[in-house]
C-alpha cells in the first residue's frame, strides 16, 4: 500500500499539500502488515530452500534437455490414443461420481452446520447444545478434508482391492469435507433477511430452507460444485498410486519411465479435458442466468399471443413452447445423462464389498492407527517437515499472488486500450499459458520439475507456484473485469493515465476479493504441499508415504495428526483474515 502512495506522490509533485491531506490514514498499520508479510515470505523462502540458481545449473539443464528434447512429437499412434481415451473416460467418471455423491452427502451436512437455520440463534447467542453439535460436526468435516485422499483410498484398498472404487472413495470422502464446509460458507455469505424473516414468522426450518435459503444460494452452490468437479478431475492423478486407473496412472507410469513423448501426450489430453470441463461449467452457469431472462420474455410473449386468436398463431405458440422447453431442459438433461453414464462406466467391484473378510481387514487397518506413535525421534523429524510444508505453501502462494496480480493487471490495461494484432496475440498466448498452468495438477508439476530442480522442497514450492499462477491470474482477471467501471472512467476523464488509473479504482475496489482469493489458494496449497513428499518434492508427505509403505500405521497416524493440525491452522487463520481484512466476500 505504501509503495502505491509513493508512486502517487511522484506522479503529482506540485500538489504535495493536497497529497499530504489525502494521505492514507491507515498507512502505519498497513506498512506493518506489508513488513510482516515480507518477513514471512523471506523466512518461508529460506525454509523451502528456495534457490532458482539450481535451475540454471549445467547438470540439471542437460538432464532436462534430454527429457524435454524428446517431448516433441507427442506420442500419437492409434493404440496409445485409444488407451488415453479409455483412461480419460475413467478419470472423468471417477471425478464425476465422486463429486455427485459428495454433493448428495454434503448438502444435509452443510445445512446442519450453518448457523443461519438455527432457531435458538435468532436474535441472540446460540444455545450451548446446538453450538456443540455444530462444532463437533465441523470438526468431523475438517478431519475428513484434511486427511489426504491417498490415505482414504488406501483404507479402501483393504476393502475393495485395487482399482477405481478405492480411488472414488478417497476422493468422495475428502470432497464431502470440502463441499460441506464451502456450502455452509456460501449459505452464510448470502442475503440473510428472507431466511431470518421466514424463521421469525414461525415457518419450519425445512420450509425456510427450501423456499428461501436454497433458492437464493443455488446458483452459487452449483457453480462451486462444478468448480469442485474440475478440481477433483485434477486431484484424481494422485490416485494412480493405488491403481485407481485413469490418466493419473498413465502419467505416473510414463513419468517414472522418463518417456517424455507419452508424458507430453497425456499432459495435452489433460489440458484438453480441463478446458472442456471449464467450457461446460461456463456454459452451465450462463444458462443459469439466461433461462431466467427467457422465462421473463416468454411470459411477456404469452400475453401478446393471447390477443391473436388465429389457430396458426396458437400452433406457433405450441412450437415456441416446445423449443423453449428444450432450451431450458436440454442442458440439465444432458448433464443428468452424462452423470448416469459416468456411474455406469465405473467398475464398482461390488462383489469385493460384500465379503466379510473385507470388513475384518478394514477394522484391522483402522485399529493399526491407534494409538499414534509418540516417539521423540519421529516427532522431531515431523516438526521439521511441518515447517517445511508451511514454508512451501506460503512461499508458493505469495510468489504466485505477486506474479498473478502483475499479469492480470497488465491484461486488464491491455484490454482497456483495445490493442493491435501483436498485443492480441500476446494476450491469447498468456491465456493459453494460464490454461496450461492450471490444468496440470501440482503433483504432476512436481514430478516434471524434479527432473530439473532435483529432490527437495524447492521443487514442491515451484510446483505450487506454477499451478497457483495459473489459477490466481485467471481469478484476478475475472475479478478486475467484474468491477464497476464508473470510478475508473471518472479518473480517466479527469486526466489520469490509463495505465495507472486502475491502480486507484479497479484494484482498490477488488482488493478484498483478491486477498481472499489468495487466502483460499493458500489453504488449497497447504493441502497440496502435504502430498509433495510422495514424489520427493519436500514436506511431510515423504514420511507419510514411507510409513504407509511399510505398514506402520501408528507412525502414519502421527503424520496424519500433523497434517490435520496444519490444515486446521491454515483454515482458521485464513477464515480469520478473510473476515478481518476482506469482509465483503
Amino acid at each position: 500500500m505504501t509503495c502505491i502512495v509513493g508512486m502517487k506522490l511522484k506522479s503529482e509533485p506540485d500538489t504535495t499539500q493536497l497529497a499530504l491531506r489525502l494521505r492514507d490514514p491507515e498507512r502505519i498499520g498497513r506498512a506493518w502488515i506489508s513488513f510482516g508479510v515480507l518477513l514471512l515470505l523471506f523466512a518461508s523462502l529460506a525454509g523451502s530452500q528456495f534457490n532458482p540458481a539450481i535451475l540454471l545449473d549445467h547438470d540439471s539443464l542437460s538432464t532436462a534437455a534430454d527429457f524435454f528434447d524428446t517431448f516433441w512429437p507427442p506420442r500419437s499412434d492409434a493404440d496409445f490414443l485409444r488407451r488415453l481415451f479409455d483412461a480419460s473416460v475413467v478419470t472423468v467418471s471417477i471425478a464425476t461420481v465422486a463429486t455427485v455423491l459428495a454433493m448428495i452427502v454434503a448438502t444435509p451436512l452443510a445445512v446442519a452446520i450453518t448457523s443461519r437455520l438455527s432457531l435458538s440463534a435468532r436474535g441472540r447467542r446460540m444455545k450451548t447444545p446446538p453450538r456443540l453439535l455444530r462444532g463437533t460436526l465441523r470438526g468431523v468435516l475438517l478431519f475428513l478434508r484434511s486427511v489426504p485422499e491417498l490415505i482414504w483410498a488406501l483404507l479402501f484398498v483393504g476393502v475393495t482391492g485395487l482399482g477405481a472404487t478405492a480411488g472414488i472413495m478417497g476422493l468422495l470422502i475428502t470432497n464431502i469435507g470440502i463441499l460441506a464446509k464451502n456450502y455452509a460458507e456460501i449459505i452464510e455469505s448470502g442475503e440473510a433477511t428472507v431466511t431470518g424473516h421466514m424463521l421469525d414468522n414461525g415457518n419450519g426450518r425445512c420450509k425456510t430452507l427450501l423456499h428461501a435459503t436454497l433458492p437464493q444460494c443455488l446458483p452459487e452452490l452449483l457453480s462451486y460444485s462444478i468448480y469442485r468437479w474440475e478440481c477433483t478431475l485434477r486431484t484424481s492423478v494422485v490416485l494412480g498410486f493405488v491403481g485407481a486407473g485413469g490418466l493419473g496412472q498413465e502419467l505416473l507410469i510414463s513419468i517414472r519411465q522418463l518417456a517424455s513423448p507419452e508424458v507430453f501426450s497425456i499432459i495435452l489430453v489433460f489440458v484438453l479435458l480441463v478446458s472442456v470441463a471449464d467450457a461446460i461449467s461456463n456454459s452451465l452457469r450462463r444458462q443459469l442466468s439466461q433461462s431466467a431472462t427467457q422465462h421473463a420474455d416468454q411470459t411477456a410473449g404469452a400475453s401478446d399471443t393471447d390477443n391473436d386468436s388465429g389457430p396458426s398463431a396458437r400452433w406457433q405458440g405450441q412450437l415456441g413452447k416446445a423449443s423453449s422447453l428444450l432450451r431450458r431442459w436440454g442442458r440439465p438433461c444432458l448433464v443428468g445423462l452424462a452423470v448416469l453414464a459416468c456411474f455406469n462406466a465405473v467398475d464398482w467391484q461390488l462383489e469385493q464389498w460384500l465379503r466379510p473378510s473385507s470388513f475384518a481387514r478394514t477394522r484391522e487397518f483402522i485399529q493399526g492407527f491407534f494409538p499414534p506413535d509418540l516417539s521423540a525421534g519421529l516427532w522431531q523429524r515431523l516438526a521439521g517437515d511441518a515447517l517445511e510444508t508451511l514454508s512451501m505453501a506460503f512461499a508458493g502462494t505469495a510468489l504466485a499472488s505477486i506474479v498473478a496480480i502483475v499479469l492480470s493487471y497488465v491484461l486488464f490495461i491491455v484490454n482497456l486500450r483495445g490493442a493491435g494484432l501483436f498485443v492480441r496475440l500476446l494476450t491469447s498466448a498468456l491465456h493459453l499459458l494460464q490454461i496450461v498452468l492450471r490444468s496440470v495438477p501440482e503433483l504432476v508439476w512436481a514430478m516434471l520439475l524434479i527432473i530439473v530442480a532435483g529432490i527437495g522442497p524447492f521443487t514442491g514450492t515451484l510446483a505450487l507456484f506454477l499451478a497457483s499462477v495459473g489459477v490466481l491470474s485467471r481469478l484476478y482477471s475475472e475479478c478486475l473485469d467484474n468491477q464497476d467501471d464508473a470510478p475508473l472512467e471518472n479518473l480517466v476523464a479527469n486526466g489520469s493515465s490509463l495505465g495507472l488509473a486502475p491502480l486507484w479504482s479497479t484494484l482498490m475496489q477488488a482488493r478484498s476479493q483478491l486477498i481472499s482469493y489468495s487466502l483460499y489458494r493458500w489453504e488449497h496449497n497447504l493441502r497440496a504441499a502435504t502430498l509433495m513428499g510422495i514424489v520427493g518434492a519436500g514436506g511431510v508427505g515423504q514420511e507419510l508415504y514411507l510409513r504407509l509403505s511399510v505398514f506402520q500405521f501408528d507412525k502414519v497416524a502421527a503424520c496424519v495428526v500433523v497434517i490435520v493440525v496444519l490444515v486446521a491452522l491454515a483454515d482458521s487463520i485464513s477464515h480469520f483474515l478473510r473476515h478481518r481484512y476482506a469482509p465483503t466476500v
Binding site: 507410469i253 517414472r256 511399510v550
Partner: protein, 310 residues
C-alpha cells in the same frame, strides 16, 4: 451497471427455483436407482476360475508387463487355466492385494514378502525363487567426478533410495549403511525415487549426490547402455542376502501349489521357448524357496524400525 446486476440477481433466483425442482434431483434420483440396480447384479457375479498374478513395481510398469505377460501365458498352459497379470503401481498395494486374497500369486521382494507374511499371520507362502536370488546384492552409485569414494563419505549428502518398500533399493542398503556406522535418518538427506531405474537416472542427472539400487537392474541398465558409465560409477557393493520370490496367497489347494512349483522348476535354459521366459526374468533357473530364507531380512527390518515387532 447496478440495474443489470439487479436483473442478474433476480434471474438467478428464478433459475435457482427451476433447477431445484427437478433437473438436479431427477438426475440424482436416477443415479441412486442405478446404484441399487448395480448392487443387485454385482452381488451375483462371483470370482471365476481365473488365476491372477502380480508383481511389485520395482521397475517401470511397461517393463513389468513385457516381463510378466509371457510368464502368465506359460503358467496358463502349465496350469490349464486362465492366468492374467495385474499391473500394480505401488509396492504396498501389491502386498495388500495378496494378503486380502485379491491376487493369487505375486512376485515379491524379500522385504515385501516379510511384510506380507506378517500381515497375513504367516499364511502366505514363498514357493520358488531364482537361483540368483539366493545371493543378491545392491550397489551404491555416484557421479564419476564426485568426491564420494566410500560409504564414510556419505555424511551430509543427498541420498536416494528406490521405493521405501524395496529390499535391494532401501531396506538392505539402509541396513548395511548402519552397519558401516551411518545414521541414515540424521546423517543423510534422504529421498525416495520410487524405483531402481529411477534411482540411476536421478543420480545421473545430478538430482542427488548418490543412490542405492538392485545390482541386477544396474547390470541391465549398463548392458543396455541406458546409463552412461562415463558419468556414473559404483563405489560400494553390499554383502549378499536373499531377495525376490514368488509368493502364493493362503488357501490355494495343495495340488495347485505343487503344479506351480513344478512349472517354475521345470523351466530349462536349454529349451528355446523356456529361455525367452527365463531371460526376461533375468534368471538361469528357478529353485524352491522357503520362509526361513528371509529371517535375515526380517531382523534387518526390525533393526531399521521398518517392521513393527509383533
Amino acid at each position: 451497471m447496478t440495474r443489470s446486476r439487479f436483473v442478474a440477481a433476480i434471474s438467478r433466483c428464478l433459475t435457482a427455483r427451476h433447477l431445484s425442482r427437478s433437473g438436479q434431483f431427477g438426475s440424482l434420483a436416477s443415479g441412486l436407482l442405478l446404484l441399487a440396480g448395480l448392487s443387485l447384479s454385482g452381488s451375483q457375479v462371483m470370482a471365476d476360475g481365473e488365476f491372477r498374478i502380480s508383481a511389485i513395481p520395482d521397475e517401470a510398469p511397461t517393463e513389468l508387463i513385457r516381463k510378466f505377460e509371457p510368464m502368465a501365458d506359460y503358467l496358463s498352459k502349465a496350469l490349464d487355466m486362465d492366468v492374467s497379470f495385474v499391473p500394480v503401481t505401488d509396492y504396498a498395494a501389491t502386498v495388500e492385494a495378496l494378503v486380502s486374497d485379491q491376487i493369487d500369486m505375486a512376485w515379491l521382494g524379500g522385504f515385501t514378502y516379510v511384510q506380507a507374511a506378517q500381515r497375513s499371520d504367516g499364511k502366505v507362502e514363498p514357493i520358488v525363487q531364482r537361483a540368483e536370488d539366493e545371493r543378491f546384492q545392491s550397489v551404491f552409485i555416484t557421479q564419476s567426478d564426485s568426491p564420494i569414494q566410500s560409504v564414510a563419505d556419505l555424511k551430509g549428502v543427498n541420498f536416494t533410495f528406490g521405493s521405501p518398500s524395496s529390499t535391494s533399493g532401501h531396506l538392505m542398503p539402509r541396513h548395511f549403511l548402519s552397519e558401516e556406522g551411518i545414521d541414515v535418518d540424521n546423517d543423510l538427506s534422504v529421498a525416495f525415487s520410487g524405483a531402481h531405474d529411477a534411482t540411476a537416472f536421478a543420480v545421473a542427472g545430478g538430482r542427488v549426490d548418490a543412490g542405492a539400487l538392485n545390482i541386477k537392474v544396474w547390470e541391465k541398465l549398463v548392458n543396455e547402455q541406458k546409463v552412461d558409465t562415463d558419468k556414473l560409477r559404483v563405489f560400494y557393493t553390499t554383502p549378499e542376502y536373499h531377495d525376490y520370490n514368488w509368493t502364493i496367497r493362503s488357501g490355494l489347494s495343495a495340488e495347485l501349489r505343487q503344479k506351480l512349483i513344478d512349472a517354475f522348476v521345470s523351466l530349462d535354459m536349454n529349451d528355446p521357448e523356456d529361455k525367452i521366459i527365463l531371460d526376461l526374468q533375468r534368471a538361469t533357473r528357478f529353485v524352491p524357496s522357503q520362509a526361513s530364507f528371509y529371517e535375515g531380512i526380517k531382523q534387518a527390518a526390525f533393526e531399521a524400525e521398518l517392521l513393527a515387532k509383533p
